[in-house]
Amino acid sequence: MTDAAVATDPATATDPAVRVVGLTKDFPGGTRALEGVTFDVPAGELTSLIGPSGCGKTTTLKIVAGLIPATSGEVIVKGRPVTGPGPERAFVFQDFALLPWATVLRNVAFGLELRGVPKAEREATAREYIGKANLGGFEHHYPHQLSGGMRQRVGLARALAVDADILLMDEPFASVDEQIRRAFQEDLLRLLSEERKTVLFVTHSIEEAVYVSDQIVILTRGPGRVSNAVQPQIARDGTPDEIRRNQGYLDAVEEIWGQLRSYVEEDMRAPEGADR
């Protein structure tokens, strides 16, 4: 475990937006999910967490969100330790977590509603982000009338509408078709370049991680530890297809696959239903 250098002034501009330091998490019953997880999320960049299933990616993200407490270690957001959810962080859920009884408009405005923003104001903001998320015309639809991809756009618009600097995304495209997933990744990159957010992104897809990330943190399993952090060197100015043929992209995919392969092979050898 490498300790990040401690900055003297906790709020200089070059400081990482999120600093995860020595995070350990034991679940009731004694299972250790994380052990000494340490990494930085640089401001204005997209950092992915990737690793074999059961490595504690989502647990790490939820601790950063302040939704579950760490057993030891800490998360520092903009120089302050996290003790719970905060307005500078917004969460995008794998299963979308939309209110099924509320329209798209109210769902997108819901974060603002909880912050006590007056109705007219929050609906104006919500309409703006509904437009940006390509959901125009669906303001008065209910979630069950939308496709999976559209539902996640609602989840993304809701997170953007509260104007948090840091977006925490838990496998946001996992429940979405492959074709839609690609279009969605484009939209995400476009929105992020417009909105200048810091993103911590959990995924199990190596291609997705390399395609969207500035930095990829690889977690090992049982208990989760940081095995490596990869910074793919990819020129972002090409078309999506050019980027996917870019040597930097292919090298990064290869490098991460090389590290994760051993776990996959371990999985294949392990007897069915073996307890780990």
Binding site: P85, R89, F91, H144
Partner: protein, 250 residues
């Protein structure tokens, strides 16, 4: 309903039964069963009689107060049972015992305790309906999606907002099902209570009609009570259908 390959409205089956009823009644086989047309005629006379008006008023009063208490405490206790595991375990057993026990047996004891008037009727309605409301509310509240709760917390909802803006609505389909069943049981409760007390309300009228062999009036009264319970249950059912669309996609 499909008979011999043709769609027949459900109401048709009622008509068939009414026709059989009429025939059996006309044959005069059983004094308990007067012709259906006599019963229809009796509905008019019963419903407009002063005696029925007075009885209905007292009955409605007991029913409304008992139901209001059952709704407030049933939904309240159900919420606690669903949210706090210890309370769920502590109360769950009792709620299930009372829900499945023959409460009619308790009414005479209530009479000894509370007398032959309004308090006994109110408590009977309450006891008949509160358990199913509490148990259904508990199920709804306990099964609120974990990720909706996390979503609320991550966007800064207070405990109160979590309950009023998320848990309440997420549990609404189950709560409404409990309320609908509770209302029907409440109607049964008020009539059974009055039958056992035997000197008040609609229950007294039932007693009076059956003891005086006024079978047409007896059946007419039963239909009026049934219509009342049916209307209540359909009203709640209307709201249930409105939330059904999201109940399946939670």
């Amino acid at each position: 309903m499909i008979i011999a390959g043709r769609r027949v409205p459900m109401a048709f089956s009622l008509l068939v039964w009414f026709a059989i009823w009429e025939v059996v009644g006309r044959l005069g086989l059983v004094f308990l069963i007067p012709p259906f047309t006599d019963v229809l005629a009796a509905i008019g006379t019963v419903a407009t009689s002063n005696r029925f008006g007075d009885a209905a008023l007292i009955t409605l009063q007991a029913f409304t107060i008992g139901m209001a208490l059952a709704l407030v405490s049933g939904i309240g206790v159900g919420f606690l049972m669903g949210r706090v595991r210890a309370i769920g375990e502590l109360m769950g057993m009792w709620a299930n015992i009372f829900e499945s026990s023959p409460l009619t047996a308790i009414v005479p004891a209530l009479m000894a305790l509370l007398g032959f008037g309004m308090p006994t009727m109110i408590v009977t309605v309450f006891l008949f309906s509160v358990w199913v409301i509490a148990l259904d509310t508990q199920v709804g509240v306990a099964h609120v999606s974990q990720s909706l709760l996390e979503m609320g917390r991550s966007f800064g909802a207070s405990r109160r907002e979590l309950l009023t803006k998320i848990v309440l609505f997420a549990a609404l389909p189950e709560i409404l099902a409990g309320v609908r069943l509770g209302l029907i049981r409440g109607v049964k409760g008020v009539i059974i209570g009055q039958l056992l007390i035997a000197i008040v309300g609609i229950g007294y009228l039932f007693e009076r009609y059956s003891r005086g062999f006024l079978m047409a009036e007896f059946w007419a009264l039963l239909m009026l009570v049934f219509a009342f319970a049916f209307a209540l249950s359909e009203t709640v059912g209307f709201f249930e259908r409105r939330v059904a669309a999201y109940a399946t996609t939670r």
